[in-house]
């Protein structure tokens, strides 16, 4: 079912409780203030573009300034604020989401480039009240301190485990001709190097990923 941007921007009481005061604050700001990304140019805005995104199994039709990154579309237009803006330059990984199952930096791609594509964000990993195994493992192993990088870490780990299962190699894979690489600590660290944790919770992040992958921790 396609729904309009207006409908998806309606903030329910439950959403406010779940996402905290940030979402509430956003509803009180003028529209221009929300569009922090595209609005740093004094020239006239370009003609808007319409895009349909399949996000976490639901269709959303958005009319956007074409400069809107996928991250800004998620956060500012759909109130999906789980994906975080850390550096906004593809260096930190906090904005990691899955497009057609593959992890990417949502800050370095435009929403209009993904018309019709399927996007999974941190909000789409759990099934109802049942946490995704990676979410549960991050909780159990204290895979975070401040938590700002966590949604990116978890989405990235989900993509990483899929890549590993598909036999994709990494820089530290000793034998490239071997179709599958064992997921050692060194492999996990290399494959997760696009996600920076300023609190340096790395040992616990590795442990959480190993648990979610069904490996001894």
């Amino acid at each position: 079912m396609a729904e309009s941007e207006l409908t998806t921007m309606e903030i329910t009481r439950r959403t406010v409780i779940e996402t905290g005061t940030t979402a509430l604050l956003l509803t009180t700001l003028p529209r221009a203030a929300l569009a922090a990304g595209p609005s740093d140019d004094s020239g006239p805005p370009p003609p808007p573009a319409t895009v349909e995104l399949q996000i976490n199994g639901r269709s959303h039709v958005l009319t956007l300034d074409p400069r809107t990154t996928l991250l800004d579309a998620l956060r500012e237009h759909l109130a999906l604020t789980g994906s975080k803006k850390g550096c906004d330059h593809g260096q930190c990984g906090a904005c990691t989401v899955l497009i057609e199952g593959r992890r990417i930096n949502s800050c370095l791609t435009l929403a209009v480039m993904h018309d019709g594509q399927s996007i999974t964000t941190i909000e789409g990993l759990a099934e109802g009240d049942n946490l995704h195994p990676l979410q549960a493992a991050f909780v159990e192993h204290d895979g975070f301190q401040c938590g700002y990088c966590t949604s990116g870490q978890i989405c990235s780990a989900a993509g990483m485990l899929a890549e590993s299962q598909q036999g994709m190699p990494s820089y530290v894979t000793e034998d490239l001709t071997h179709p599958t690489a064992e997921l050692t600590d060194a492999e996990i660290r290399e494959r997760m190097s696009g996600n920076i944790c300023r609190c340096a919770a790395y040992p616990n992040i590795v442990a959480a990923i190993k648990q979610a992958a069904g490996m001894p921790t």
Partner: protein
């Protein structure tokens, strides 16, 4: 970000014709272009999105090589079983670059066309002959730790940041292009990237409206393939020095060698004189030193990057020792 109009290309010919217009820019993976657009280093008035074009295949060539479509993602190219079996140096180089998220997006053609990571090129408040021709080069007397020691000029001392292109240089890859009139051209990778000279703003031999359709890899040459990358941290960092080496040797005798270097110049740096010193040579320190001398002939540091000269020598020694240890 400056305002632009967005257009999705429905054919390669359409993309090439649209790209010939002033202010138009092709977007593929976008991981470098959008970054630069946010900083207003790049300010296209029109973006032509080629992501839906059917340029994402890796095919065998009749000669026994591979033809890699322009839109093959860096992660897919690195993971392709044929690349892993026959072009290990390319797979390794790709995996040494960026992060998994970026490699999932970045394309073969975009990787070749990525811009330098020189701090002053990125900082629009600073002079940069590449970004703003004639404004000067702030790196010459500035922080130049990551800058070029080979092939630079008084106008620009930036380096090319790609790992992939260094491996392709060692493999003698060819870049296939097409223009808006449908004319195809093949550019040897040796002639694709340009040294700065007096026109550092001209980075490749691509003409206006000419777009990359594929990169062809000739059949793999004999020998052990290695990509060694030296950087400030173990992962997710650009090369200070990198070496793509293909060394054919047996029992301490080198038959042939190919060497390409990253992090040293504004293009992937092939060292034919060093390769000649190694060919038919004994695998020992004297030979390795002669090869390093040949690579570093004319090398020039600018203060912050002086360390790259001995680092290149040591890295080459290590790679040659590793690849001839049989």
């Amino acid at each position: 970000m400056k305002a632009f109009s967005y257009q999705r290309a429905d054919s390669t010919a359409h993309a090439a014709a649209a790209a010939a217009k002033p202010g138009a820019k092709i977007i593929a993976g976008g991981t470098n272009l959008l970054d630069l657009m946010k900083l207003q280093v790049e300010t296209p008035s029109q973006l032509i999105d080629i992501n839906r074009l059917p340029l994402d295949k890796i095919e065998e060539t009749p000669e026994g090589g591979l033809r890699v479509g322009a839109l093959v993602r860096n992660s897919d190219l690195a993971a392709d079983p044929r690349v892993r079996q026959r072009y290990g140096v390319l797979s390794r180089a790709l995996l040494a670059g960026a992060s998994a998220q970026l490699r999932n997006k970045a394309t073969t053609s975009g990787n070749l066309l990525q811009r330098t990571r020189c701090y002053y090129f990125y900082d629009v408040t600073k002079p940069c002959n590449k970004r703003n021709p004639g404004s000067g080069c702030a790196a010459l007397a500035g922080f130049n730790r990551i800058h070029a020691i080979l092939g630079s000029s008084d106008h620009c001392i930036a380096t090319h940041p790609s790992d992939m292109a260094v491996a392709m240089r060692a493999l003698d890859a060819k870049v296939e292009t097409v223009n808006g009139e449908g004319e195809a051209r093949v550019i040897p990778i040796a002639e694709f990237h340009r040294l700065p000279g007096k026109t550092p703003e001209i980075e490749t031999s691509l003409k206006s409206g000419e777009i990359i359709t594929a990169v062809t890899l000739p059949p793999p040459p004999p020998g052990v393939q290695v990509y060694r990358k030296v950087r400030d941290r173990a992962s997710y960092a650009f090369a200070l020095v990198s070496v793509a080496a293909i060394i054919d040797s047996t029992r301490g005798r080198i038959r042939s060698a190919r060497l390409a270097f990253g992090g040293l110049a504004l293009k992937p740096w092939r060292a034919p004189e060093a390769e000649e010193k190694l060919a038919d040579g004994s695998a020992n320190t004297t030979t390795f030193n002669a090869a390093a001398d040949a690579v570093l002939d004319g090398a020039r540091g600018f203060g912050g990057n002086d360390f790259k000269i001995p680092l290149t020598r040591r890295t080459l020694h290590s790679v040659l020792a590793e690849t001839t240890r049989t």
